[in-house]
Amino acid sequence: MRSLTGHSRHVMVAVMIALVGILALGGCSKKNVMATTEGTGKAQEGGPSGSGGSMGEGGSAPLQGFSKSPSEESVKAPTPPVVAKADTAEIAARQAREAAKRQLADIYFAFDKWALSSEGMKNLAQNSEFLKQNPKVKLLIEGHCDERGSREYNMVLGEKRAQETRRYLESLGVKNPVTVTSYGKERLVCTEHDESCYWKNRRAHLVLEGEK
C-alpha cells in the first residue's frame, strides 16, 4: 500500500470537503421524499394521457450521504409525469384560420439585412394598389429568416423585416389594418443548406384575412 500515501492524503482532504458540504446543507435528513411516476424506456414517448401522480422537488430528492446502516430510499423516474393539456378547440380554430388565409407574393431580403431592395419596393407598390382598393382587408406581415442566423436573433431580424415592410406600405398610402409578427427561422419554406434555399427563406410573407 506504499503507493497509496499520496492518494490517502487526497482522500482525507476530500472527506473534509465533504464534511463542509454536509454541514452547509444543514439538517437535511428528509427520507423518501421523491415520488414521481415511473418512466419509460429510451426513445419511447409518453402519450397525452394526462396521468396524474405526485412528485417531489421537480423529481429530485435531496442526497443523503453514505452511511454504514443506510436507510432505504425510494427511487422513481425523475421525468415529469405531466402532459400539458392541449386545447383542441384552439387548435381547430387556428387551423381553420390558416386555411382561410390568402397570400400575396413574398418580399425578399438580402443576407443579414432588413432594408427593402428596389425589387421589394416595386412588388410592394403593386400590392399596395390591391390593398388600397380593398381597405377592409386585414393584412398580416410575417418576417422570416434563413438558417444562418441564431434562433433568437432571427426572431428580431424577422420582426425588423416585417416592420420595414409595414412602414413602406403605409408610406404608399395603405390604410388597411396591419399586424406584424416574426417567425425567425422557425418556419423555413426551403430546407437545403445553400443559397438556392437561403434567399427564399429571407422573406416578408404577406397574408390577407377577412372580407374583401
Partner: protein, 425 residues
Amino acid sequence: MALAGLAVFAVATGAVEVFIDATRGAIQKIPIAVYSFKSAIPVPGQPPADVLKADLRRSLLFDVADLERLGIRAEVNSQPGPEALQKAGEAGMAVQVWGTLVPRGSQIVMDGTLFESSHGEVGRKRYVGSPGVVRHMAHRLADEIVFHYTGEQGIARSQIAFVSERDGAKELFVMDYDGYNPRRLTFDASLNLAPAWSPDRRRLAFVTYRKGDDPQIEELDLITGARRTLVALPGLNITPEWSPSGEELAFATTKDGNSEIYKVDKYGRRFERLTDHLAADLAPTWSPTGREIAFTSDRGGTPQIYLMSADGTNVRALTYRDQHGSYNTSAVWSPKGNWIAYVCRDERRILKICLISPDGQQWRQLTTGSSNDESPSWSADGRHVAFSSTRNERRDIYMIGADGTGLERLTTSGVFNDDPAWSGS
C-alpha cells in the same frame, strides 16, 4: 491538495463579478474502480455499473479504471474479495465501488458500497424501486459519490428540456441528462420554443405561438400539469430566462416598437423595463448571483454580447466586432459564473459555440467543424454545455465538456431536436 482545488470561490469586486474556478487546469482526478453489480435477476437495459461509470466519467472528477486491464475481475459475487480490493488499491485505485440488485416482490433493491483503499468501507446506499428505474438508482449513486468528494450535487439526476419537431409542429420534450427517457410534454400542434427551467426544476417557461400571431411566454407546472400565460404583451415576447432566485423572469418584448429587455415577477404581474435603445435588445441571461445580466444587442450595427446590472444600469459591451467577429448572440452564463457561452458565427457564416469570461479576458471557440451549432445551455456543475448541432445531418442535441472534450450525442429520434435547456441539480 488537488481535491481542495474543486472548491469554487466567488469574489465580488465592484461592478464586475470575478469568479475563480479552480476546477480548470490540471486537476488530478480520483482513480476509481467500479465492479459489476451482481444481479439476482435479469434487469432490462444498460447494466447499472455501466450507467454509474458513464456518470462518474462525465463528472470529470474521476478516472474510471478498466479493471480487466489491471488484471482484476470486474465480475464479482456480491462484493470483491480482499485480494481484489488489495490489488486494486496497489494499482492506485483510491476509491472502489460495487453493488448488488435483489428482487423484492415487483420491486428491485439496489445496494451500493463506497470503499476507500486506505480506509476501508466509507458507507453504503440502499435504493428500492421498479425495474424501470434501475438507471436512476445508478444516477443517484453517482451523484452521492460526487457529493461525498466535492459537496456538489452532481448532474447525473439532471434533466434536459428541448424542442422537437412533430408533424410540422414544434413541441416541448424533456429527457434525462444522458439522453435516455425522452418524454413529450406538449401536444399543441403549434410552435413551442425556448424552454427555460425554474431553479427549483418545477416549472418550464417557454415561448408559444398557440394563441395567435404574437408569441407569448407561458409556464408549465411539471407537477400539476397546469399551464398559465406569464407574458402576453402586444408584439413578440421571446427569450425567457428565470433569475437564479426563481422570483423573476427576464425576457425580450417588441411592445415598445423594437425589442427591449424586461423582467417580470413570477406571478406575471409586475413588469420592469431594463433596456431603452432603438436597436434590438434580447436574449437575457443572469449571472449566478442574479446581480448581472448578459444580453444580445445590435446597437453597434451587428449583434454582440453586452452586460448590464440587473436593474438595467451600467451597460457595457463584452464582445467586439474587431476582436470576436461580426455576429455574436444568445449568451448563457455558467452557473459557476466563470464563463459565458454564446453563439458565434465564423467567416464561413457557420454558427459555432464560443466561450468568454465575464471580464472579457479569456475567450475560446468551444465547438469546431462545419456543422451549425447553437442554443448552448450549461450543466449545473458548469463543466458541460448542451447545444444543438447539424453535425450528423439532422439537427440533434449534443453535450460537450467546457474544455472541449467528451462530445456526446444525446438525441437520436425525430428529425429536428433543438433548444436544449439543462435543469439544475
